[in-house]
C-alpha cells in the first residue's frame, strides 16, 4: 500500500527554513521582476537577508502577491504521516494563523506556512506601499 504524500515547497527566510504546500504556490520568481506594490515582506516569519526570490501566491480578491524570501530550496515529498498540527496550546496563543502545522524533517519540526494567510495578515497589518514607478 502506498502511503499518501504531500508536496512541500521548502524556502528560507533569514536563517530559518519553512515549508508550504505546493498547491498554494503559483510560481517562483525574482524580486527584481515584480512591481514593488506586489511585494510582501516584513512578515511574522522574520526579516529577509538577500530578498532575491519571490514566491507568487494568489491574493485575496484576485491578483497576485509575491512573498519575498531569501532562498527557494526546492520541493520535498513528505509522507502525510509526518505532518502534524500545531500543538493545541501553541495554536491558541500565537497571534498568527499562518502556521498550519509542522513537518518532522530529520526529527526537527519545520513550520508549514499557509502562504495566503501570511500574505493576508501582512497586508491587513500594514497596507503595501504604493508602486513607485
Amino acid at each position: 500500500m502506498i502511503e499518501p504524500v504531500s508536496e512541500l515547497l521548502m524556502f528560507q527566510v533569514g536563517a530559518r527554513v519553512f515549508a508550504s504546500t505546493v498547491r498554494d504556490v503559483v510560481r517562483i520568481g525574482n524580486v527584481a521582476d515584480v512591481p514593488p506594490g506586489e511585494l510582501v515582506e516584513g512578515t511574522s516569519l522574520g526579516p529577509t537577508f538577500a530578498r532575491e526570490r519571490g514566491i507568487v501566491v494568489a491574493a485575496e480578491g484576485g491578483g497576485e502577491a509575491t512573498l519575498v524570501v531569501d532562498q527557494v530550496l526546492g520541493v520535498r515529498s513528505v509522507p502525510e504521516s509526518e505532518l502534524q498540527p500545531l500543538p493545541a496550546f501553541a495554536a491558541a496563543v500565537i497571534r498568527s494563523g499562518a502556521v498550519s502545522g509542522l513537518v518532522l524533517l530529520d526529527e526537527a519540526p519545520t513550520l508549514i506556512v499557509d502562504l495566503p494567510t501570511l500574505v493576508r495578515e501582512r497586508r491587513s497589518a500594514a497596507p503595501a506601499a504604493p508602486p513607485t514607478a
Binding site: 512578515t43 493545541a88 501553541a90 491558541a92 526537527a108
Partner: protein, 170 residues
Amino acid sequence: MSPVRPTSDSLPAGALRAGQEAWFFCLRIHGGRYAFEAPLVTEVVRLGPLTRLPAAPSFLPGVFTHRGEVLPVLDIGQLVGQGAITIRPSTRAAVVHCGPWKVAVISDGLEGLVVIPRRQLEPPPAESVGMAEFLSGVARDKLGTIAVLDLPRLVEAARSRAVPAGSAGP
C-alpha cells in the same frame, strides 16, 4: 525520558496515607522554589532543539519534538514578568497536562517530587501580582520555602492573555 512515578521507597514511613500528605513536583525559577500538583506531570524530558513560532508570546519560546510528538514549551518566568529562563543544553522540562492543554514547563532546575503534609500548607500571601497571583499555598520543608502554584489556572491565564489568531481551544 523519566516517567514521574512516586515510589514508596523514597518516602518516609506512612507518607502515602491518603488525605494527610500531598505530592508536589518541585522546580526552581529565578532562585525561588515552586511546586505544583504532581499528578499533572506525566514525565520529565530533556529539551530538544527549539523551533520558534512566528508571532508567539514571550512565554512560548518554541516547540520541540519528543518521541515524534511536538510539544510547546511554557516559560513561567516570562508569563509572570520575572524574565526569561535561560535555556541550556542540559535544560529539562516537565511535561504536564492541564485540562485540554499539554505543555512542557521549563525551569532553572528540577528538584522532582516532594511530599508535603497537607496540614503544613499555608494560604498564599494576599498579593495579586506576578507569581503570587497564581499561588494556591505556601509550604516549608528542610530546604526552605516552597510556593505552590495553581498550574491549571496559570496555564489558562496564559491562554486567555494571548490574542490568538485561530481557535481558542483544541
